[in-house]
């Protein structure tokens, strides 16, 4: 039966064929986007894997016999210690700050994030300088207790674990804060009404409920620990990553290094899938509370325990190292270090550009996962975040080789003589490959909090995908986007091996400066650029804290 014209529409509107399978076309489009992003990020990894063909079999044998068993043990021990310590510190401090009131709580709330501004390797060399045999602490102790005093060795797995934990706990802290602020109140009330004491409620209700956030934070921490080279070298701890470096620089075999790195990649992939599984099952739920209610006060002297705990962590992780850096910087004062100032500017610029690019890419990826869900997009999204799991120098080689390949292939294909390697594009692409994981987490979480019905409502009101993105998704995602940008910015500014390898001429960052100075044992001279790095890191940190405190405001479901 032919459709009768409706006067209001001015004639029969034939079913627009573009509208016909637009849903299908949209899904294909997003799938293509995901694959493109994944390809971009995975390309360096693939290039790296192709080098495995160069691996030296006798080398592998040697490594298996003499190096890898011990290295596996150390790496496992280190990772376990760091994961445990950061979980305890991060979750514990987050709980304290989120649910209780005690002297200084408001300050500690943001101050506990400060260690993010201090790179782990800087903390490492400060710690070793302060605490080792020849350092001021032990020298003073020997003056007190006699020259034969022998303390446990600082340069050991334990020492490295301590430094890494103090450096990385903010990731867990930040994410657990998010969890406890939004769920904590309800959880506690429900648990207490069921007769659990406060402590029981924490262990049996609040902590399990925060598992998804905890898992996400721990994933970042474990990946960072696996990929870390700077800190473990200072402590002379042999980990998987140092074995990779040894194969490359000492044994002159990048192929073997690539082979070992691929193992790390596998571990990283498995970890990421596990975390996703853990998170996925728990899902995201929004609560009725609009703002996190202020915590309950602690009575009596125990308040000061809480303050002491926070202060202690802050001292060890930030204040004391900062003080030492200031002492070093001022003692060797040779006038204003113009080079470092310029480097600071470069650092900030590169960081901001990278943060913007990473967040935009993460947004595309998250959007694609939402619009075109399925196994393919899932896998691609996981792959795209793998760059975080392998050591920076190794990824740098992959990026570099991939780019030089492009430099050879592109002019041949297009006839235009243009170069990517050595330009800012190169280093920014490398940053995206490495830090997409950091940006993706918060963005994905924010995206998941936007209920499907909002999308549907917007569509029914006539909003196409562009209008939905601009008027609905972006405004609601803003807190997550800023969190992601701030996290990426802080990480990029501290990054060293990739920057070293892909930076264009004249773009030395503070991290590069620090590396050059410390590679020659000039720790004191590295103090000033380290301080500059901390200072530039404070800007994104302030943003991070603002988001952590104000995120729970907007809700997509009505209060009960």
């Amino acid at each position: 039966m032919p459709a009768i014209a409706d006067a209001g529409l001015g004639g029969t509107a034939p079913l627009a064929l573009t509208g016909a399978n637009s849903g299908e076309r949209q899904r294909l489009f997003w799938r293509a986007v995901v694959l493109l992003i994944a390809a971009l990020v995975v390309a360096p990894l693939i290039v790296l894997l192709t080098r495995i063909g160069d691996a030296d079999a006798s080398l592998i044998e040697h490594l298996l016999e003499h190096v890898l068993p011990r290295v596996f043990g150390h790496t496992l021990l280190l990772t376990t210690l760091v994961a445990g310590a950061t979980a305890a510190l991060g979750a514990g401090l987050a709980w304290l700050i989120s649910r209780y009131r005690f002297p200084g709580r408001d300050v500690f709330s943001w101050a506990l994030l400060l260690p993010l501004a201090l790179p782990a390797y800087v903390l490492a060399f400060v710690a070793v300088g302060l605490l080792d045999f020849a350092g001021p602490l032990q020298t003073a102790l020997r003056a007190l207790f006699g020259p034969d005093l022998r303390l446990p060795p600082v340069r050991s797995v334990g020492g490295a674990a301590l430094v890494l934990s103090l450096s990385f706990y903010p990731y867990v802290y930040l994410l657990c804060r998010s969890a406890f602020d939004s769920q904590g109140q309800r959880a506690m009330e429900a648990a207490r009404s069921l007769g659990l004491s406060r402590r029981q409620a924490f262990w049996r209700v609040a902590l399990p409920m925060s598992r998804p956030w905890l898992a996400a934070g721990l994933l970042l921490v474990v990946m960072e620990t696996l990929a870390d080279f700077g800190t473990v070298s200072v402590f002379n701890v042999d980990t998987f990553t140092t074995a990779i470096y040894k194969s490359w620089f000492g044994l002159f075999s990048l192929g073997t290094a690539a082979q070992l790195a691929s193992l790390l990649l596998l571990i990283g992939f498995v970890l990421a899938m596990t975390e996703h599984r853990l998170r996925g099952r728990a899902g995201y739920w929004s609560t009725g509370r609009s703002v996190a209610a202020p915590g309950e006060p602690i009575d009596g002297a125990r308040r000061w325990l809480a303050t002491a705990a926070c202060l202690g962590v802050l001292l060890l992780a930030f204040l004391l190292p900062l003080a030492q850096l200031v002492v070093w910087a001022t003692s060797g004062w040779t006038g204003v270090d113009v080079v470092s100032l310029r480097a600071a500017g470069r650092t900030l610029l590169l960081g901001l550009a990278a943060a913007g690019l990473v967040v935009a890419t993460a947004l595309l990826l998250a959007y694609a996962r939402r619009e075109s869900p399925g196994r393919l997009t899932e896998m691609a999204a996981r792959l795209a975040t793998l760059g975080y799991a392998i050591p920076g120098a190794v990824l740098a080689v992959g990026v570099f080789v991939a780019l030089t390949l492009a430099d050879r292939v592109l002019p041949a294909l297009t006839g235009v003589d243009w170069r990517v390697g050595g330009t800012l594009v190169a280093i920014l692409l490398a940053y995206v490959a490495r830090f997409l994981a950091v940006g993706f987490g918060p963005v994905e979480a924010g995206m998941a909090r936007i209920g499907r019905s909002l999308d549907d409502a917007a569509r029914v009101l006539g909003a196409g995908s562009r209008r939905r993105l601009l008027r609905i998704h972006l405004p609601l995602l803003t807190p997550s986007l800023f969190t992601a940008a701030a996290l990426v910015l802080v990480d990029v500014m501290k990054e060293m091996p990739i920057t070293l390898m892909t930076r264009p001429f004249g773009w030395d960052t503070l991290a590069v400066r620090i590396f050059e100075l410390t590679s020659e044992g000039q720790w004191e001279a590295a103090a000033l650029p380290s301080l500059a790095l901390v200072a530039t890191g404070l800007l994104p940190l302030s943003l991070l804290n603002r988001q952590a405190e104000t995120t729970p405001i907007r809700r997509s479901t009505p209060p009960t």
């Binding site: 080398l59 070793v128 020849a134 002379n236 490359w248 620089f249 430099d407 170069r419």
Partner: protein, 339 residues
């Protein structure tokens, strides 16, 4: 749009605009690109002097030596680099092995650089010399008790030795030279002896190790001379003494900072000129003195500070051995448990 949003966006746009700037093409004859594993602070004075003298601008790209070699390999014929500088002979050997260096024929360089400090195949040339020798706590040890590297493996030194990590190339070169002199089996014995005598975990760098010796954590250690120079300059009162090892046997182990022309560099003539200048007497002092090293050019005297350490017999072995045997040395150290 909130302010942080606006700020981020503007800066992002600026950054992207910067990205679109084309890579500057190499201007012939006016600019040289140097890939240097030696940090900028230690090469910039020379390059500035060269620019002042000849007007040729030099762009130094610094990175770790392994990364630089990989870069050169990956870039192939497209490389912008004209010269490669590394801080040890082992990596120069490796670079030559990977085929990224170009052999040159230069009588000037042959004259300026002694034969055992340059590549027999003329692909690279040493520019400064540093020794890796023994340093001791003057309050705990008398110079007369010391003799050779090998001697430090003896049980008499149990708990008194400090070493830097085996992961750093300087120790790898040292062990490589031991292998070259004594063969693998004996060298492994020596290294095992060292490990047994360690007073503490190997150190991440020479300076920290020297400070540990001065503080009394151990009695003797092996380090590069220039770290000693720098440390004593800052803290002259440290009870730290220098001892030239193996004077009655093979001579002190030495290593070089060296350079070679890149195979596919676009300006070999200009690069060669630079290299020859770096080996010439005017540059040699500049190069070496800034870092308490000795010049290779026999026509140049080392700085007063270095001379104050006394003269020493250096090992006459060609430093190329350090590279040739580096992989063996690393494996040996792994087997011996020297971390």
């Amino acid at each position: 749009m909130s302010r942080p949003q606006a700020l981020f966006r503007t800066l992002g746009a600026v950054a992207l605009a910067l990205c679109l700037l084309p890579a500057a093409p190499a201007l012939a004859g006016e600019k040289l690109v140097v890939y240097s594993a030696r940090i900028e602070a230690l090469v910039k004075p020379m390059f500035d002097a060269y620019t002042k003298e000849t007007g040729v601008e030099i762009q130094a790209v610094t990175d770790k030596e392994g990364a630089l070699v990989e870069r050169l390999k990956a870039e192939g014929a497209n490389t912008p680099a004209d010269l490669l500088i590394t801080t040890d002979a082992g990596n120069l050997w490796q670079a030559a092995q990977e085929g990224v260096l170009r052999p040159i024929d230069s009588p000037a360089l042959a004259a300026a650089v002694p034969a055992n400090l340059r590549d027999p195949d003329q692909q690279w040339f040493g520019l400064t010399v540093r020794a890796r020798t023994l340093f001791f706590n003057t309050q705990m040890v008398k110079a007369g008790e010391l003799s050779t590297y090998e001697d430090l493996a003896q049980p008499a030194w149990r708990g008194k030795l400090c070493l830097r990590s085996s992961k750093k190339v300087y120790n790898q070169s040292l062990v490589a030279m031991l292998i070259s002199e004594h063969g693998e089996a004996k060298a492994e014995e020596i290294v095992r002896g060292w490990v047994a005598n360690l007073a503490a975990e190997p150190f991440a760098d020479d300076t920290r190790m020297l400070e540990a010796v001065a503080a009394g954590q151990c009695a003797v250690g092996i380090a590069n001379t220039y770290y000693y120079g720098r440390l004593m300059e800052k803290k002259p009162d440290l009870p730290l003494g220098i001892f030239w090892a193996n004077q009655s046997t093979g001579g002190v182990h030495i290593n070089v900072t060296g350079a070679g022309l890149t195979r596919h560099g676009k300006q070999p003539a200009a690069a060669q000129k630079l290299l020859e200048w770096l080996a010439s007497p005017q540059a040699q002092n500049l190069f070496a003195d800034v870092n308490f090293e000795s010049p290779v050019n026999p026509a140049t005297a080392p700085s007063a500070a270095v001379q104050a350490w006394g003269s020493f017999k250096a090992s006459p072995l060609n430093v190329v051995e350090a590279g040739r045997l580096q992989a063996k040395a690393v494996r040996l150290m792994d087997r011996a448990g020297y971390r």
